[in-house]
Amino acid sequence: MARASFNWPWLVAAVLVVVTGLQLCSGALVTTYDAAMAVPDWPATYGHNMFLFPLREWLGGPFDLMLEHGHRLWGTVVGMLTLALAAVCWRSPTKPAVRSLAIAAVALVVIQGLVGGFRVLLDSQTVAKVHACAGPLFFAVVVAIAALARRGESVAPASPLAVRSSAGLVVAAYLQLVAGAQLRHLDAAVDPRTFHVLVGLHLLGAVAVMYLGATAVVATRTGAERAARLWSRSILFLVGCQIVLGGGAWVAKYGVPSALLPESWRLSQPVVARSGAGAAIVTGHAVLGMLLLGAAVALAIAAGAFVRRPTAAVAPGGVGKGAFA
């Protein structure tokens, strides 16, 4: 009996998920501490080759320098692993979707590296927003690769409602991150109306994510795979945490809305986002949003969103063979 070959694409993708998750955390910390310009050149670090920058100056230097340089170095690890993943997917007998996503991951990691560099060279908040939106997209792609590479061939699609709500959740979670990035990288001279619109969009997005998450839980209660049930419930839990963190992040950045408090209770200095607790809350809110996106992708795949439904397989014009994922 032939022994099944080891699932290398899954292993490398799973490692990459963890490594990327850490990179997202470090990126979020860089934003929280406004450390992006702590190293003002790129790709060099204060004139040194990035990899040869003295360890003592890195770890013994200012906190923001440590964060930014660490973020860059860890980014190269993400890039190398992404190339390894693409190579493994190319050489392994894996699913077409996995290969396609691996190519997309390589493209994204290259773009993300360049965008990160230009964020420094141009010292631009808008480039920082692009960087903040491309990171979670890359994470979502890597999670999709890991989930698809792991999944067996026998997955049956859950109910159409489960598929739709989980797919909608992916879209809503990503758009939430886009809106969140606008608020995280706010221009000091922003028009108040724009700020209010952005906050409104972010709150509206939160309602959409809550609704879709709850719908996914209901839709996967029966007839769905165990993984889909677990992911949907985890997402609902994460959404609950995210709401609490979102409120906390607002207080840490802008203080408690003044109108709600008696005068004596009002904070004299509401911006405490860079205190230990404030940074943890603000950064946690950003990171949890990205994790929510990853979980939504995993749920969509577990619910069979990438699987051709039996009725569609014989639809006119369809080929009816060769599942994509």
Partner: protein
């Protein structure tokens, strides 16, 4: 000049209202119908929109409207020439596909020699008009696009599915015409990199955008392409898996690039519009990848047109250089 892979959606409607080969048609109407098939005006309009968007992003609304219009006229002439040359080179395969069999050259209503004369005249006129309007650099870019499309892409369609990757370059090059015509290099040399950044983003968007767009068309007409012996990806791989994969990868990669469009202006609204347009494109690409059926391909095709139109309009209105 004409983007080979891109904008071909306009061809979907080309058969409507066009009389069958050899059918008796009278006078001016028949000539106009043939002319429309020959130069494919919808495709030319999309090319001109690209040139205009690149100009807007580089230098804002043109100060000299006359030169700007002349640039568009020159570009349109080169685009028309490339379309005619393409139809001369592909007349045999065009005859084998119902979608293209009624084109004037393929159907024999226009002789090859006459068509070649038209192609040469429009190319020459287009290059000259472009040069007089905007200088030799945009004219050279237009000529290079023509060459890439006619000399490289068109023959490659018969030999390798990699033709899309080559043709997509020709589809993205009109951005260079607009950037060069708007004095992009001079602005860059003066230290203003915002126009160059926006043009580079727009060119990359157009390159990536063409993969899902063209794969959708190649899927819809795969039987015709196979009958004509063209090496499209959907012919080489009839399951559509490779076409779906390329579509998905390109659509995903397009997301961050489209967000870069907002960088020079710093416009939050442009950023959000770009996120929504490119996100919708990814969603349609995923749907096509999963289903690989005609409705999925049609949705991807129309989403491609809508998303590009949305991006171009938003870039010109919200992201124009001041």
């Amino acid at each position: 000049m004409t983007p080979p892979a891109g904008f071909a959606a306009a061809e979907l409607s080309i058969d409507r209202g066009i009389p069958a080969a050899g059918a008796p048609t009278a006078g001016l109407a028949a000539v106009l119908a043939d002319a429309a098939q020959l130069v494919r005006p919808k495709i030319a309009i999309m090319v001109l929109a690209t040139v205009a968007a690149a100009w807007w992003l580089t230098a804002g609304p043109p100060a000299d409207a006359g030169s700007f219009v002349a640039l568009l006229v020159g570009t349109a002439l080169v685009a028309a020439s490339s379309s005619i040359a393409n139809q001369i080179l592909e007349r045999r395969t065009d005859r084998m596909m119902p979608r293209t069999a009624r084109r004037p050259v393929a159907a024999g209503r226009l002789g090859v020699a006459t068509a070649a004369l038209l192609a040469t005249a429009t190319l020459g006129a287009g290059v000259v008009v472009t040069m007089r309007a905007a200088g030799w650099q945009p004219a050279a870019a237009a000529a290079a696009t023509w060459l890439l499309y006619v000399v490289a892409y068109t023959p490659l369609k018969r030999t390798t599915p990699l033709n899309t990757a080559v043709g997509a370059v020709a589809g993205a090059l009109p951005v260079a015409i607009g950037w060069l015509a708007a004095d992009g290099p001079a602005l860059l040399a003066a230290g203003d990199a915002s126009g160059a950044l926006a043009a580079a983003a727009l060119g990359t968007i157009l390159y990536l955008w063409q993969f899902p767009h063209f794969m959708a068309i190649a899927w819809l007409y795969r039987e015709q392409y196979a009958a004509a012996g063209l090496a499209m990806l959907t012919v080489v791989d009839p399951t559509g898996l490779r076409a779906a994969g390329q579509s998905l990868a390109a659509a995903i990669a397009m997301v961050p690039v489209s967000l870069v469009l907002a960088v020079p202006s710093g416009s939050t609204r442009l950023f959000l519009v770009a996120a929504v347009c490119s996100g919708a494109y990814v969603a349609a690409a995923i749907r096509f990848a999963v289903l690989r059926d005609r409705p999925g391909a049609r949705l991807l095709l129309f989403t491609s047109l809508g998303s590009l139109l949305g991006l171009l309009v938003a870039a010109m209105t919200l992201g124009a250089a001041s």
